[in-house]
Amino acid sequence: MNVMTKPGSFATLHNWLINEDFTSTRQARLHTFYVAWLNLLANPLAFCGFLVVLGLIAVAALAPMIATHDSYAQDLAFALQPISAQHWFGTDEFGRDVFSRLVYGSRTTLYISILVTVVVAPIGFVIGATAGYLGGWVDIVLMRITDIFLSFPSLVLALAFSASLGPGIENAVIAIALTVWPPIARLARAETLTFRNADFVVAAELQGAGMGRILLRHIVPLCAPSIIVRLTLNMSSIILTAAGLGFLGLGAQPPMAEWGAMAASGRQYLLDAWWLTTIPGIAILTVSLAFNLLGDGLRDILDPRNG
């Protein structure tokens, strides 16, 4: 690192963060984050992915400020307008501004993918880690249930669930979560098995630590990196499944802006108005790709076997 060229206060901060002779727990923790950040900076592709994801979050958070039009305002006189200075990405069949709908659609996308992740991570971890830690018949029962969920084609399972629960975002989230947790549970089980009989876990047991403490305090910190990586890589498939459900009319319902549904409704006008399908398609592609790149980079950064 080119410490010398940095201005004074930054160099001090950098030295304080990079120095391994810690004087407090906070410094030790910040050091870990700082080293991860430096690794992220050193990996250009992952950093690009990180920037795009950050951009997506910013756009979703600031949607009312960024959008140029009301995303629901219809104006049939201006239907299917091509790209122009007034409508940056043209208008759809009801004369709504595609750019504004794209901006608001990022909220839907982010909402679905974050909600699925938040639901799936603890469920997958608890099921997988419990199975791996306890072993025996608990392991057999939990893993066979996981196998049953894994043996369904995920989009068909999601389709069946959203069809039976009724279309809508919340049900789409439940349906997608049902298809996403089994691989997480498997991963958590495999990771738990590798640490199950490690001496540091046995030491904790001999000191009287209960199962909850061992799972939360000892297994979670070791499983977390690979689960985070897996979830980040999963983000793109969550987004694609959400878009697929939207495309089939089982996700977000009109007039709500959702990228998959936008691409679906533009399909009828594909020959006259290419921007209706292309623009949301590019958005889905970019965000999925960004999450994949970020996940790939995180794998290198967070993997405990690298530290």
């Binding site: 004087t23 030790a28 001496d199 001999l206 009287g208 403490r213 305090r217 000892h218 910190p221």
Partner: protein
């Protein structure tokens, strides 16, 4: 009154058809403040006895008394704190993602002890590590330093007994001597009782007052330190073990 009293201890692994008995009807007593060695070749069951005493292996029969209290298969927190174990591999026995301070705090939280920071500082001082090591991660420490941390973690609950499972065999020869001397000092200072498992007679002779020689899950002889040093052991298997370690003993004397 003896600190540890073991009668007709038998330990096995596995269930049903695949059950294998590792230790057969072993009886011994260890006095308070004594260091008792278990030696023997790989697979003779010495670590298994230690596992049963520590509470790691619960598939045992017989009678174990620790500090005058009979121990069952399930133990209370108080019974667990009476003896603590130091493992062979210092690279695998400390949580890689916890700082040393976290590792030492963990047992205190489990047992709900007070004055935690003071106890962590005392444990680090006792094993001869600087106080700022508590903010470090294990990967920043050498093997010998990690083994000191493992000893500190075992000592932090103020146990009466330390169970040492080949505590030096993963270490460099010069570091081995440091750790052995540390263990010796600690025993004198804190009045601890040791059970030391090793395949190295030199290590056992350095630390222990009495040594049980094991073969195929049973004791063949319990020899005193003096017998080992004088070479007046009776059982032929003990002689074989002594012959095996002689080369090491003489070369270390020359050095």
């Amino acid at each position: 009154m003896s600190m540890i009293n073991v009668e007709r201890l038998a330990v096995s692994y596995g269930k049903g058809q695949q059950q294998v008995r590792i230790v057969n009807d072993v009886s011994f007593a260890v006095e308070k403040g004594e260091a008792f060695g278990l030696v023997g070749e790989s697979g003779c069951g010495k670590s298994t006895i230690l596992g049963a005493l520590a509470g790691r292996n619960q598939q045992w029969t017989g009678r174990i008394e620790i500090d005058g209290e009979q121990i069952g298969q399930k133990r209370s927190h108080g019974q667990l704190a009476k003896q603590q174990m130091v493992f062979q591999d210092p690279f695998g026995s400390i949580h890689p993602r916890h700082t040393i301070g976290r590792t030492l705090l963990e047992p205190l939280e489990i047992h709900d002890k007070d004055r935690r920071q003071k106890r962590v500082e005392k444990a680090l001082t006792d094993v001869g590590l600087p106080l700022n090591f508590r903010y470090r991660y294990p990967h920043q420490l050498s093997g010998g330093q990690r083994q000191r941390v493992a000893i500190a973690r075992a000592l932090i609950l103020e146990p009466r007994i330390l169970l040492l499972d080949e505590p030096t065999s993963a270490l460099d020869v010069s570091i081995q001597a440091e750790i052995l001397n540390l263990l010796k000092d600690l025993r004198e200072r804190e009045g601890l009782t040791y059970i030391l498992v090793s395949h190295d007679l030199a290590v056992v002779a350095h630390l222990c007052d009495r040594v049980a020689v094991m073969q195929e899950g049973g004791f063949v002889e319990v020899a005193t330190k003096q017998q080992l040093l004088d070479g007046t052991v009776t059982h032929p298997y003990t002689r074989v073990l002594m012959d095996g370690s002689r080369g090491y003993v003489t070369s270390s004397r020359n050095a």
